[in-house]
């Protein structure tokens, strides 16, 4: 894939994060621990697919080579996906799914909160709508972290294991590479390292409520923004992109 203009690349990253997590969550549909949880997870997935549609649409528009949101979602391979590694991690049990959501939604809420002030009005508009949605996601995930952490012995053990599993992917959320550093200096992109303190405070607050402590530090696992993913993304894409790949050029 030819190199995208920086702003398109940025919109693509935001869109890919939402798309891949939405895809993951939709795997739960019909299989959740209770009907109410099934509805909540589908709801979050739906919000994320909506956000992805907006961000990817914008990326395609900026690129101006005729690719729309669907072309970007269904016709790129692993190396051209720029989501963070956290969102592509498999669901695991419910605690692992909640751990992933908890860590990501708080990040996303802070990020979109800041993005509403972007000097790019299109990004700001999408963020303004999305920030309300992700605030709810963060609250829902936090509530479950507290319930599972301070629930039964089993749920506590699973919640600890879930957080421990996902923790190595946290640092990547806050990395600002050359592209985003430049965009941030123009007031377009969010200065992500600046969000870290607020994120830490939120996470620690909920963990305290859940009577849990932070997982042990782990050397950051990075690479998602540059297309260097975990082994899981290829499988996710092969499922998600199956129809578009099997019937090139068809309209659905």
């Amino acid at each position: 894939m030819a190199k995208l203009p920086p702003l398109a690349q940025y919109a693509l990253r935001l869109g890919d994060d939402a798309l891949i997590l939405g895809q993951r969550l939709s795997e739960w549909c019909g299989h959740a621990p209770a009907l109410e949880i099934d509805l909540s997870l589908a709801n979050i997935a739906l919000d994320l697919v909506g956000q992805a549609t907006h961000f990817l649409g914008l990326a395609g528009e900026i690129e101006a080579k005729g690719r729309d949101a669907d072309a970007l979602a269904f016709k790129r391979d692993v190396l051209d996906f720029s989501n963070c590694l956290l969102v592509e991690q498999p669901n695991g049990d419910f605690a692992r799914t909640i751990a992933r959501q908890f860590l990501f939604s708080h990040f996303q809420e802070l990020q979109f909160g800041a993005l509403t002030g972007s000097t790019d009005p299109r990004l700001a508009a999408i963020a303004a709508k999305a920030v309300k949605e992700v605030a709810y996601h963060a609250r829902l995930a936090s509530d479950w972290v507290a319930r599972l952490g301070d629930g039964t012995d089993e749920s506590r053990a699973r919640m600890i294991a879930g957080l421990d599993w996902m923790w190595r992917f946290v640092d990547e959320l806050f990395v600002l590479d050359a592209i985003e550093t430049k965009l941030a200096s123009q007031g377009i992109a969010v200065d992500k390292p600046a969000l870290r303190a607020a994120w830490d405070a939120r996470i620690d607050g909920v963990l305290a409520e859940a009577t849990l402590s932070r997982p042990a530090p782990h050397r950051p696992v990075l690479g998602g923004r540059e297309g260097h993913h975990s082994e899981h993304l290829g499988h996710l894409l092969s499922e998600m992109q199956f129809l578009q790949r099997a019937y090139p050029g068809a309209t659905w």
């Binding site: 798309l19 895809q23 939709s26 795997e27 549909c29 019909g30 299989h31 959740a32 621990p33 209770a34 009907l35 109410e36 949880i37 099934d38 509805l39 589908a42 709801n43 997935a45 739906l46 697919v49 909506g50 992805a52 549609t53 990817l56 949101a69 669907d70 979602a73 269904f74 049990d93 419910f94 507290a146 319930r147 599972l148 301070d150 629930g151 039964t152 089993e154 749920s155 699973r158 499922e239 998600m240 199956f242 129809l243 578009q244 019937y247 050029g249 068809a250 309209t251 659905w252």
Partner: protein, 334 residues
């Protein structure tokens, strides 16, 4: 949908019906209210048989919504565009919501959700036979929306006036959403029927597989549906299985023609004198086999439901324990 009365052929297996003698005065007053099209509310007096019929029908309906999430959920992760994915997610989520308020409506009759789910998992309670068929291609999602939800609407529109208030009110909302589901399904079929040769093939194949099972959704023929008469008298049902099935055929045939798909029934023919389509014989043997749990993916469907329930037990336990801890802490603080 999914209100097929499946109890008829299973009489031998079900528990013997105790012949409770109802107070004739109360019964007469009840019958008069129902005949007068009044709603019966949960706290009102009602005959035991009425209560039991409703619990059976509403829980069966709720189970069908929940099991029905599986065949369609099977395609959410493979939906061919972001728009289709969002619509399908929303649709399957709606089905879950229907299940939720139907369980709630049934609970007003004194049976808990846990009891109903237990009955589903043990095989005691039934769900619509239609969900024991597999979704093989994307066109099946179109066919389910168009035909299965179309049949559901036929069944459910009259239920908005069913005599039990909570059920009737739940149906008002359900019907609105089902009508959106039906349109999205037909729209998928239109896109496929107007698409490439492979897409047309998919669409035609899906119609061929879903047509007869959809007709079966209306339940056994009237002369073999033992509960119909009393259910109609009690305004639990408002139209017979065969009447509703005929309506469905009459509406669906022109829809298939409009997009150039053919219905797999050589006997299908407009009957000028009746003002209806005549249609071929339904394979009732297949229907009763599927009711007995011998549908091609019945085992997978139940396995998936039971697995979700068992795998989720620790989550539900944790939520209860956590809530109890919170309550205790609150009381201690006061």
């Amino acid at each position: 949908m999914y209100t097929t009365d499946l109890s008829g052929k299973d009489k031998k297996k079900s528990e013997p019906t105790p012949l409770k003698q109802e107070d004739p005065k109360l019964l007469a007053a009840f019958e008069a209210r129902v005949a007068n099209d009044e709603f019966i509310e949960p706290k009102d007096w009602m005959p035991e048989a009425y209560r039991r019929t409703l619990v059976r029908q509403i829980s069966q309906h709720a189970h069908s919504e929940i099991v029905g999430m599986l065949p369609e959920g099977n395609w959410i992760t493979r939906a061919p565009s972001l728009r289709r994915k969002a619509i399908l997610l929303a649709k399957v989520q709606d089905e879950g919501g229907h299940g939720l308020y139907l369980y709630a409506a049934a609970e007003t009759l004194g049976t808990s959700r846990a009891e109903m789910i237990e009955a589903l998992h043990s095989g005691k309670a039934k769900y619509s036979t239609i969900f024991n068929y597999p979704t093989l291609t994307w066109a099946d999602i179109g066919a389910i929306g168009w035909l299965v939800d179309g049949a559901a609407i036929m069944n459910q529109v009259p239920l908005q006036r069913t005599s039990f208030g909570p059920y009737a009110r739940a149906m008002v909302r359900v019907c609105k959403e089902e009508s959106f589901h039906q349109r999205q399904g037909y729209e998928i079929m239109m896109a496929l029927a107007g698409g490439s040769r492979e897409q047309k093939r998919m669409a035609q194949d899906a119609l061929a597989r879903w047509w007869w099972p959809s007709l079966m959704m209306f339940g056994p023929p009237d002369d073999k549906s033992p509960n119909t008469e009393q259910s109609i008298r009690w305004r639990i049902k408002r139209e017979t299985n065969d009447e509703l099935r005929q309506k469905f055929v009459d509406v669906s045939v022109p829809q298939a023609e409009a997009i150039g798909l053919s219905i797999p029934d050589k006997k299908l023919k407009w009957n000028e004198a009746r003002g209806h389509y005549d249609y071929g014989e339904i394979d009732w043997e297949e229907f009763y086999a599927v009711v007995r749990g011998e549908g091609s993916v019945a085992k997978e469907r139940m396995q998936a439901r039971v697995k979700a329930w068992e795998d989720g037990a620790w989550v539900r336990d944790a939520a209860l324990v956590h809530a109890a801890k919170r309550t205790a802490a609150k009381i201690a603080a006061e």
